[in-house]
């Protein structure tokens, strides 16, 4: 088993919670894991990405080689396209369609979505609306995680356990909200694939 995952978003959007969930689940399954994060200056509203690698055998590089990513998971549509050179020819993009506009020359959203829809495999989700329906827009990242969950090579139970562990200190209500969001994302991709 070997999975190369690019997580993409904007500093402060919470891609590291997705990374942490996948990481915890991978550890529970006894997999090797490397996860390169971006800290520091770019976290101030800049483009951020994380390289996440899971494998049943030891992993050499912290960075995924170009063209070798199996999945791009993004919480922002434009950011999902920034890492196209990393994606393998039959790679999958899972992204939210909700733009995070903090630059004044943000491209036309329609143009962005058209480009994503041109890729061989993708899921585009209105994660903000789905999260709101689950109880809070803040859980949008868990919608995206849920949508990605069948493609990570991990057991559903380990992902659920990871969410429980991650939100343990925030109370049962938060755990339930995040699980609900994860399940909503999962349901979307099961029904639409």
């Amino acid at each position: 088993m070997k999975k190369n995952i690019i997580l993409a978003g904007v500093g402060g959007q919470g891609i590291l919670s997705i990374a942490a969930c996948i990481g915890l689940a991978a550890i529970e399954e006894g997999l090797f894991l490397k996860q390169a994060e971006v800290h520091g200056m770019s976290q101030r509203g800049g483009a951020v990405q994380s390289h996440l690698r899971l494998s049943s055998t030891e992993i050499a590089s912290d960075l995924i080689p170009e063209g070798k990513a199996d999945i791009i998971i993004s919480i922002e549509p434009m950011e999902s396209l920034r890492y196209l050179p990393m994606l393998s020819p039959d790679g999958l993009i899972i992204t939210s369609i909700n733009p995070f506009v903090n630059i004044n020359n943000y491209p036309d959203l329609e143009l962005i979505l058209q480009e994503i829809w041109k890729q061989p495999k993708y899921f585009t989700l209105d994660a903000d609306a789905m999260a709101k329906e689950c109880g809070s827009v803040k859980a949008a990242n868990m919608i995206i995680l849920g949508a990605a969950s069948p493609y990570l090579g991990l057991k559903p139970q380990s992902i659920e356990n990871a969410i429980r562990t991650l939100f343990k200190n925030k109370g049962e209500e938060m755990i339930e909200l995040n699980l609900k969001a994860k399940n909503a994302g999962l349901k979307y991709v099961t029904e639409n694939s």
Partner: protein
Amino acid sequence: MQKLLLLGDEAIAQGAIDSGLSGVYAYPGTPSTEIMEYIQVSKESKSLNIRAMWSANEKTAMESALGMSYAGKRALVCMKHVGLNVAADAFVNSAITGANGGLVVVAADDPSMHSSQNEQDSRFYAKFSFIPILEPTNQQEAYDMIRYGFDLSEKMRIPVMLRITTRLAHSRSGVIRKEVRHQNELKLPGNLRQFVLLPAIARKQYRELLAKQSELQKLSGESGFNYYQPGTDTKLGIVACGLAFNYLMENFTESPLPYPLLKIGQYPVPDDLVKKIYDDCDEILVMEDGYPIFEEQLKGILNLGKPIHGRLDGTLPRDGELTPNIVAQALGIEFQVGKEIPGFLKNRPPRLCDGCSHNDAFLALNEAILSYGKGRVFSDIGCYTLSALEPLESINSCVDMGASITMAIGAADAGLVPAVAAIGDSTFTHSGITGLLDAVNNNSPITILILDNSTTGMTGGQTSSAYGKVEDICRGVGVKEEHIRIIKPLRKNHEENILIMQEELAYQGVSVIIPRRECIQTLNRRMRQQAKIKSLEII
């Protein structure tokens, strides 16, 4: 033993805690910050009473750690690469005093300048100082090397550098812990003159330091961090230092590496290992995730021997971080990259947070300075450096910690009056106070904005040494009371703030304006914590 999922920085921190650390000293700086942060929140560290507080700057941190080593206990100092410039005086001389308790200096380099103004390679400093270097390739090695480093330091009575780069510092992986070791007892150096670098003593100790080098080389060959691995294709031999090893191996996951390999993780590198690969192979390729230091040594100025490839002859790029693809290219391995980034995509550079106090301070400054014209604002290192970019475009320099005040002095001396300095509160106590003293003694016609957001914002909100002390320090240094002006950078105070700035810009001496409002990020964090405490009380 227990397996933890840790960042490279955290592996170093946990490794130090488990190896009998007594104190850690540091100034925040990406990518080294998380080492101190981890030790500060660690329950084990608290129960072991490990000293873990931020220092005013890297030099004070290095010296405090040297003091702890003098007293026989194990000390860790952490800094980013440019921090080592600040600590250099203490660092270089600590090689000559030598250590008593184990002393490890972590220098976190930033090739590709993800969060820095240069990509200097700290291994140069260690070589220049005759200090041994450990360079881990992964998180587990980082954990293991800390313990080895303390032991090496105590055995050879010398400080040891642990050199990491951003990629390892901020990458997470599984780390297996070792048994926890006790701290050292208080124990003075056997020779009470060991740390007295009077010329007569220093000369003797310097000769001892030089004499230690051959033993250090020998130990580098025995530790297992350096090794030679023969190969079937001797047309090329590969020397891989630190993380370069990972990028090399990433290209040989399916098939074994055909070339002989010298893996380097500890310096000084043993001559016999170098000779072995050189003799066995027709040509050598040196891969370093940093400057071509080893390559330059191997090549010499004239390169009269076998061809040596690497960053100097363009086989690898001359600057920037290595990647698996760069290494593949150097080896002529074909690879398929994904699609190109669509042309309409826009860059998303970092920016000040919404509601950041710096924004209001610079909006006021931009207007206040309008009549004098642009190009006179010297600034410093922190979130506010982002005000160089659109839309603010307020500042004209960012060089090194504290340089804003002193550059303003020089520019004013040259006739650029008024000159303005803009420096954060934490940067001010790091390296700005001495510059302010110069300005006062010189009666320079400069206006200094000490942007007081009550934290070290850029690195994530660590306690600032300046907290609650800024105006007292200015008074103490000799700035006149009536020219210390505290303002609140808020939109509703905009007009009033412009007027105050204009008054001080017109003054022909040193003025200090302190725009004071807490960083939005730390404020929000505090509010969340308070809310949590309140809700706990209700329960």
